[in-house]
């Protein structure tokens, strides 16, 4: 147990700081991914001239591995777009970009599942298309895709372990730093894996409960 105390418990400040960075990156990436996914989905479905661009972007984001995207965003974007200007920004951009592709497809299937009659009914009572989307379509899509959105957050957390590769000081980075100080990986890596597993388990269980209770409250049976 001496090793556990020395390598894990005494390092708890570093690990906590790492966990905070992980949560920070994931939270920014998640919010941007939901917004970006919605924009991509709307562009694909309703904006004719942008349709093919949106499809290419969605497919590209979905079909490239996160590590490749992370390195690509980190090394290739700054000279071209002059941004992201820090490793931290590159990390959440890459995570957001990846997830927005998936979420765009989730939203699209949600929108397509809503019967045409509802939009027509909304138009027939004089709602503008924007209002109909906002009041009739979007709430239902949000409810029906709530579980997938929650699931996407856990995917972001899992992928966020890779941001340590571009020296963002997340939990993974801190634990590898400790490994490199003492060269005793057993305790610290096991503890890190346990922290991640417990954290993701809590997040996904809480998210599932939230999604289910929302659906129960607003009248869609839990799937």
């Amino acid at each position: 147990m001496g090793n556990w105390q020395r390598l894990v418990w005494n390092q708890r400040d570093a690990l906590m700081n790492g966990l905070v960075v992980t949560i920070h990156v994931c939270a920014i990436a998640f919010v941007l991914a939901v917004l970006g996914g919605l924009l991509l989905c709307l562009a694909r479905m309703y904006v004719r001239p942008l349709r093919s661009v949106a499809i290419v972007l969605i497919e590209f984001f979905r079909a490239t591995p996160i590590l490749v995207q992370l390195l690509w965003v980190n090394y290739v974007w700054p000279p071209i777009f002059g941004w992201p200007d820090s490793f931290f920004a590159a990390a959440w951009t890459a995570l957001a970009v990846q997830s927005s592709g998936y979420l765009a497809e989730t939203f699209r299937s949600g929108i397509e599942a809503i019967s045409k009659g509802q939009r027509e009914a909304a138009f027939s009572v004089g709602m503008s298309p924007l209002l109909a989307f906002w009041r009739v379509v979007l709430p239902q899509v949000a409810l029906s895709s709530a579980p997938s959105i929650v699931n996407q957050f856990t995917v972001i957390v899992k992928s966020s372990t890779l941001v340590s590769v571009i020296t963002v000081q997340d939990l993974m980075y801190q634990s590898q730093k400790i490994v490199n100080i003492w060269y005793e990986p057993i305790e610290i890596l096991t503890a890190t894996a346990a922290i991640y597993i417990v954290f993701i388990y809590i997040v996904s269980t809480a998210g599932k409960l939230l999604a289910d209770s929302l659906r129960r409250r607003y009248g869609i049976a839990a799937a």
Binding site: A63, P65, W72, F81, P185, A193, Y196, I200
Partner: protein
Amino acid sequence: MWDALRQALDVSVFWEYRTVLLRGLAVNFYVFAGAAALALSIGLAAALLRVSRFRLLRWIGTVHVELFRNAPDYIMVVWVYFVLPLMIGSLLHQHFELDPFVSAVIALGFVYSGYFAETFRTGIEAVPLAHFEAGRSCGMSERLILWRIVLPQVVRRMLPESINQFISLFKATTIVSLIAVPDLMYQVSMITQQEMRPLPLYTGAALTYFAVILVASSALRALSERWRNKIYA
């Protein structure tokens, strides 16, 4: 900006190293094949545990699934590469080492077995109870019922979802470059250090993976669709 963009799209460097890079891509496929075989077999075992009659076995299956479904693949790969050999070594009282390739296959296989177990389980639970009873009333043993009645239906039902999982698994094989398995991403990083031209190399890598995964996933989807139609008809 335009200069950088032109550099990024000038993939002549990428073409120059094509043999090394192709060999790297082949390593991606080897890791994928090994991990997929491992994930399918362990996933099936875990799914069978989860639908078992005994509470203890069901519980073991559930722990397996929750453990590996919630584990990030990167930490598992690192754990299997650095920690597992030390643990085995201290059990055997001798020096023990795992090849990076082998650890990558083990780690990814176990992580994805969690996902496959759930797919198998939903497939098994979707088979009507009457099929089991009919099998039993013809005097089939449990094993025979599993092989002849349940699994053929499960495989057909889980095809579309398992294609998604195979694709995630293939994407996950890129992280094995971080424990120095010489896959495409590893070679790209090495060449970048040598040539100091990250723009075309990383763009080339992204485009290569994009093309491979897009082609593979649409081909697999079309094939499975055709196969399913043929069998259901």
